[in-house]
Amino acid sequence: MSTDVMPISHVHAVEHEHHDPNQAHQFDDMEQQNESYIVGMWTFLVTEIMFFGALFLAYVLFRSQHPAAFIDAHRHLDVGLGATNTVVLLSSSLFAALAVRGAQLQQKGTQLFWLALTLVCAFAFLGIKTKEYTHKFEEHLYPGSTFHYHSVGESGGPSESAMLSPEKSNIPQGQAELFFVIYFCMTGLHGIHVIIGIITITTLWLMIKFNHKNTNYFMWVEMAGLYWHFVDIVWIFLFPLFYLIPGK
């Protein structure tokens, strides 16, 4: 019995031509097609690693040149909000993985449910990030002609009282500004990726919901999932690099 029913990935197109309606004609079998899709997605992700990698390199260079400014300036970031966003993104990654699992099992309802939860987390992340950005803009901590830096003191995060009576900072304005330049560049690019993820997952959700052609093929959700996990990985590095800089 078990020998009669071969896994779909092992069924060769030579033996059963167009066995799976999702199989494109240029592939020998579904196994080859699936691998090609995943490797293609990974190739794109490698280019993304290069993209972010250049910014990580700039970060390391700036921080090694101005360690004191980076330690001082990072205190303006709220560790609580950063940690919350980490939990939100890690949860969204779990939900995305469960959505992919649902797609592999061809369970439409499961896919829709977990993809929707992934979207909720993505919006929550953006919401928290907007709150953080707004605060920085109010404090004139965005790079530009109106940039004005003041230390928040060694203990605790940026509290209201610290804002009202800023300590006299011996950190040069330009060096502190550099911290916020790289902060906005990296978290901004990451935020753009989150927005692209939201657009992708929303499109996918609607296509699955309304039974668009070929959406019974799990690979679309799988590839969106790979992208989303990559966005999560970038944040895994951004969080300690910006929010958690120990030292005095």
């Binding site: 019995m1 029913v5 071969m6 896994p7 779909i8 990935s9 799976d20 691998e35 995943i38 490797v39 990974w42 190739t43 992700l45 490698v46 690693i49 290069m50 990698g53 250049a54 990580f56 390199l57 390391v60 260079l61 090694s64 040149q65 101005h66 560790v79 940690a83 980490t86 939990v87 890690l90 949860s91 990654s93 779990l94 995305a96 993985a97 469960l98 992919v100 699992r101 592999q104 099992l105 061809q106 330009g174 060096q175 019974n216 799990f218 999932g225 790979l226 996990h229 999560d232 990985i233 895994i236 590095f237 969080f239 300690p240 690099l241 958690l244 800089i245 120990p246 030292g247 005095k248």
Partner: protein, 129 residues
């Protein structure tokens, strides 16, 4: 036997897929709690000053988290050799990129006429000319 033949092809595909590729839910849940634990660990570690080890500790924890995501969530664990190669390539390219830092680190080693270790705000290119 005949009843099995009459089952819908879609169900058959799904069942087979389930047997061969689909990871159990608990695997994802364990990875998730592992990631949360590591996040707490990295926050706790950042509250102590370990001197030069600060960055090493933070980046090692981040690397472990990234590896968990890649292996479990992105399912490279059960991927083909080609997928493993591509995932490894991403990491190798990243390391190669950081080789550029070696340039900055070693500029003092060989003295070039007219080139001094630049102050942070000075323009290196102009000095070289």
């Amino acid at each position: 036997m005949s009843t099995h033949v009459s089952t819908a092809p879609g169900a058959e595909i799904a069942n087979n897929h389930h047997e061969h590729n689909v990871a159990p839910v608990m695997e994802y849940v364990k990875a998730y709690f592992g990631l949360l634990g590591l996040m707490v660990l990295t926050i706790l570690a950042s509250q102590h000053d370990f001197g030069t080890m600060n960055n090493v500790i933070a980046m090692v924890i981040a690397m472990v988290k990234a590896v968990i995501v890649v292996l479990v969530f992105m399912q490279v664990k059960s991927g083909t050799k080609l997928v493993w190669l591509w995932a490894a390539l991403g990491f190798i390219w990243f390391l190669l990129l950081f080789g550029i830092l070696g340039d900055y680190q070693t500029r003092d080693w060989v003295r070039s006429p007219g080139w001094e270790n630049p102050a942070p705000s000075s323009n290196t290119l102009q000095q070289e000319k």
